[in-house]
Amino acid sequence: MLFNSLGFLIFLPTVFLLYWFVFKKSLLTQNIFILAVSYLFYAWWDWRFLLLLILSTLLDYAFGLLLASTRHKKLYFWLSVVNNLSILGFFKYYNFFADSASELLRQMGFQTNPYFLSIALPVGISFYTFHGMSYVFDIYNGKIKPIKNFIHYAVFVCFFPLLVAGPIERASHLLPQVEKKRIFSYGQAVEGMRLMLWGFFKKVVIADTLAADVNLIFNNYKEYNGSTLLLGAIYFSIQIYCDFSGYTDIALGAAKLFGFELLTNFRFPYFSRNIAEFWRRWHISLSSWFKDYLYIPLGGSKEGKWKAVRNTFIIFLVSGFWHGANWTFIFWGLIHALLFLPLLLSNKNRNYTGHIVAADKKIPGAQELLQMLLTFSLVTIAWIFFRSPNIYDAFDYIGGIGDSFFTVPAYYNQLVYVFIFLWLDWMQRRNERCVLEFKNKYVRRFVYFVFAMLIIFHFNFINRAEFIYFQF
């Protein structure tokens, strides 16, 4: 079920009312109900993959219990890792590996006829697998104790707002909330509604509007002049941000309605002053997951410069590969690693860890503006690889930007959406969601109203656009 569908607009209030009026009696009834509706939410897409989700949940739950009761912790830990990566590898990467191996053999002079799986990628598999892995890792590292109640654990993995596109939760953060009876909070629910409104605005009004032009430009890039190609790349940068952060806000908002607080996933990444800051603000739950469970176990930056460089490349390449079974994503990760490298070598990767840019000013200084523009440009170039069907097309696209650049671009009308969004994002940079917290209540109500009307007017009832991150 998509958040931006009529089905969800009926599903959410129904579940909300049943949850707080019928199933509020005990913690167990609350969690059983949440689990049931989460499974329903997932099965709406394809009920057959629900079995895979349940199997994956059961296995990680069992590994958690085994890790706590055995002397062979390392053995079970690695068994759990192999199990999770096998599921992910089989469903997500099998065809990619088969194709790449076949191509390699072909170039070496061997003719092969690889067997490809004709199977859809289970929605959200990368997300729920990582939930389960974080749980097992935390038990193995002694950070948490295994949970005995399977229902509680299953709610942690399958809670419907975060099931298909995150944020990637940590057991230490979400499980305590699952194990505690939720009591309705007016303030939390109102904040949840506001977040959902803002999320829908980003997804339905901004991202989906830009998506139409982005698809046209990227699919027929050879037809367009350089300025249009540049505009297409900028549109895609904004589209993917609004699409994914919009989804996250809807997920966070929906979770608040049920008394849960999920992890923050974005903190105004396009106002970053360098790539390192960008990665502290973009898809935070994934970056911190890789940092905690891959980068630090590999030695992080504490074992010398060259190991830090090696580890940085590993996490960026793995992060790219996590996004999809295509060389474009790996290349995208490589670009970010290369952009990160100078900062790491010059020890500037920890700059700007504190406040957001121009925290105490209305507008940024000239240097800050240049830094932001440079970072945004580099990120945008990398997005071209992310969006293109293959690396050759991406290079072709970038090459095309230089052709007849000083001409009027096509589709410039949608720049209005870009500027409106960037202005709103800039206004709330000191504090997330403050755009929806105008002091004057009449102004605030008017803004909510305008947002709601724009969402209805832009809501595409016919061709509902999926969220980009569903495919990962």
Binding site: L6, N219, E223, Y448, M453, I456, F457, H458, F461, I462
Partner: protein, 315 residues
């Protein structure tokens, strides 16, 4: 909790109310670029020749070149599939009781591939105001979903908005006030006259400067049961109302890319059994300068096709 529910419900209700109030004056005239407007105006006129089909029909036949003394109209529209063709014909013949002497139906391998995205299959935007008809309502429900169909049934004003994009709505909205402050009928007639002049033909004059790369693999087109069923219904309707039926297929650039074996066989059998003529231009006029894109011919080809058809069909 009660306070939250009350305030939320009140807020949602007020937003929906504003939405309805804002849209209430919107009617079919606001989105008047559609031929549905002409359709409304066509009540009293019988057709000597009606052209139905997709965008390949809309950009292919010039009624004014066929015969200026007869009432000929090109009702082809982008995305029209078999369900739309049938419902349009049914609306004109059964609901409006119009006589149609001859029907020239544009068909090709794309017309029978509704669900695969080659055509939109059903142009519900032409029928928002006719959802009381059970067959039209059923088709809307089938292709757009029950929620959408029932919403439009109650509130057809939302239809134009849901189908069109927001900027189009903003551009069109002033018409609402203009129409009300002056005369709604004037605006309506003015827009209808545009189609009355062109008789529904929309020329594509500019050839594409650089055509997009066509798929390297040959596109295989299937025949979908739904579309075949609607085609059968259309044929039965023609027989019922004594409408002389002709079929034609427009040229496609690099026609060998489109594998239309199933369609070719089907149409061949159909024409033999029913003694219907099929004029096939699929691989004619293979000059890229005469094409707007791979599947749409420019005005140059449209004129050649129209002239050729003029010599072959009797109106």
């Amino acid at each position: 909790m009660k306070q939250f529910l009350f305030k939320t419900s009140l807020w949602i209700a007020s937003v929906l109310l504003c939405f309805i109030v804002l849209l209430y004056p919107v009617n079919k005239e606001v989105f008047a670029d559609k031929k549905a407007v002409y359709l409304e105006n066509a009540h009293s006129k019988d057709f000597d020749l009606l052209i139905l089909g997709s965008s390949r029909a809309e950009h292919s036949i010039l009624p004014t070149l066929l015969d200026t003394t007869k009432n000929i109209f090109n009702m082809g529209e982008e995305g029209n599939g078999m369900p739309s063709n049938y419902i349009m014909l049914k609306l004109l013949t059964e609901n409006y009781g119009l006589q149609i002497k001859t029907l020239l139906l544009e068909v090709d391998e794309f017309s029978f591939n509704g669900s695969t995205g080659f055509s939109r299959q059903f142009r519900d935007d032409n029928f928002y105001y006719h959802l009381n008809d059970p067959e039209i309502y059923d088709a809307t429900k089938r292709y757009r979903g029950p929620v959408y169909a029932s919403l439009l049934h109650i509130f057809p004003q939302a239809g134009g908005l849901l189908y069109n994009d927001f900027s189009q709505f903003l551009k069109a909205y002033p018409f609402v006030f203009k129409a009300y402050s002056q005369s709604l009928q004037d605006t309506y007639n003015k827009l209808v006259n545009v189609y009355a002049f062109s008789k529904g033909y929309v020329p594509l004059t500019d050839p594409a400067k650089v055509l997009p790369v066509q798929s390297k693999t040959r596109q295989h087109h299937i025949l979908e049961a739904d579309d075949v069923a609607y085609f059968d219904k259309l044929v039965r309707l023609c027989k019922k109302h004594n409408i002389k039926l002709y079929l034609y297929r427009m040229p496609i650039l690099n026609c060998e890319h489109e594998d239309s074996q199933e369609f070719d066989q089907f149409i061949h059998n159909f024409c033999q059994q029913n003694e219907v003529l099929f004029f096939d231009y699929k691989c004619s006029y293979q000059n890229s300068n005469w094409f707007h894109d791979y599947t749409h011919a420019t005005d140059t080809i449209a004129r050649m096709v129209t002239k050729d058809l003029k010599s072959k069909i009797s109106i």
